[in-house]
Amino acid sequence: MTNYFKMSISAIFATNDNYSPAVDKTNLDDYTSSPNYFVHQNATATTGGITLGFAELTGKTTDHVIVKNKSSTITVTAGWTSASVAKTQTVGPGKFFVIPDITLANGLSLAAASSTAECEVVVVAA
């Protein structure tokens, strides 16, 4: 059975809070693929950091990973290893991070700057 994945991204910039009329509005072309894995889960980042292992995806190159920091006050640092290089990215409160084409060699780590921060994670892999 073939699976199908679609990602749509839109952005609006306006001078009023109902976004109409928009000064600029962008709908990026949809991205589509036929992945084998689609993982969607919540995770609580701690100051010591947690690691989402995704054991079944080890060594596979991801299609896209999305990390949404659901905290309104606490910053989260996402960490991953790709091509043997450890990388990190700050994800501010309420923000999301989308990264393509990484190999989850040691899973995905999420560390809160203080206390704990709820995150929502989507991983799509071929």
Binding site: N3, F5, K6, M7, I9, A11, T32, D101
Partner: protein
């Protein structure tokens, strides 16, 4: 004058190409209040690397940078997390990179660089919001 921005990502996972049957659908929104700068343009990545700099802007916070690879070949994106350190990430054909980046930057970090493989050029769509 107050400006407003909104970024949305939706993704769907299903078993048919028309997505008439969706097994999972996830929507992420981020409402941005008072962004001061909004840039949206097409950028042709070359094998020597093509930079998009925002040196004309004052010291500000970089809220989001979205890079969409519109071409048929990989592109490597570099973004600076300090004056001397950059992150890099391959973006496959058709794929998206969304960087949420909050730093009060110096001139040196207010840029991105897109590099194509040797002998290739790749059209990318870039969207940046600063506050």
């Amino acid at each position: 004058m107050t400006n407003y921005g909104k970024l949305s990502i939706s993704c769907a996972f299903g078993t048919d190409s028309t997505f008439a049957t969706v097994l999972q659908r996830v929507v992420f929104d981020d409402h941005l209040c008072t962004p001061t700068y909004f840039n949206h343009e097409l950028l042709l990545a070359s094998d020597a690397g093509t930079e998009l700099a925002f040196a004309e802007l004052p010291t500000i916070t970089f809220q989001y940078c979205i890079i969409k690879n519109l071409g048929s070949y990989d592109v490597t994106a570099n973004w600076w997390i300090s004056a001397i350190t950059s992150n890099n990430q391959v973006i496959g054909a058709g794929k998206n990179l969304v960087i949420p980046y909050a730093i009060i930057g110096t001139v040196l970090v207010r840029k991105i660089k897109l590099t194509a493989a040797t002998g290739k050029t790749v059209l990318c769509e870039v969207f940046v919001v600063f506050s």
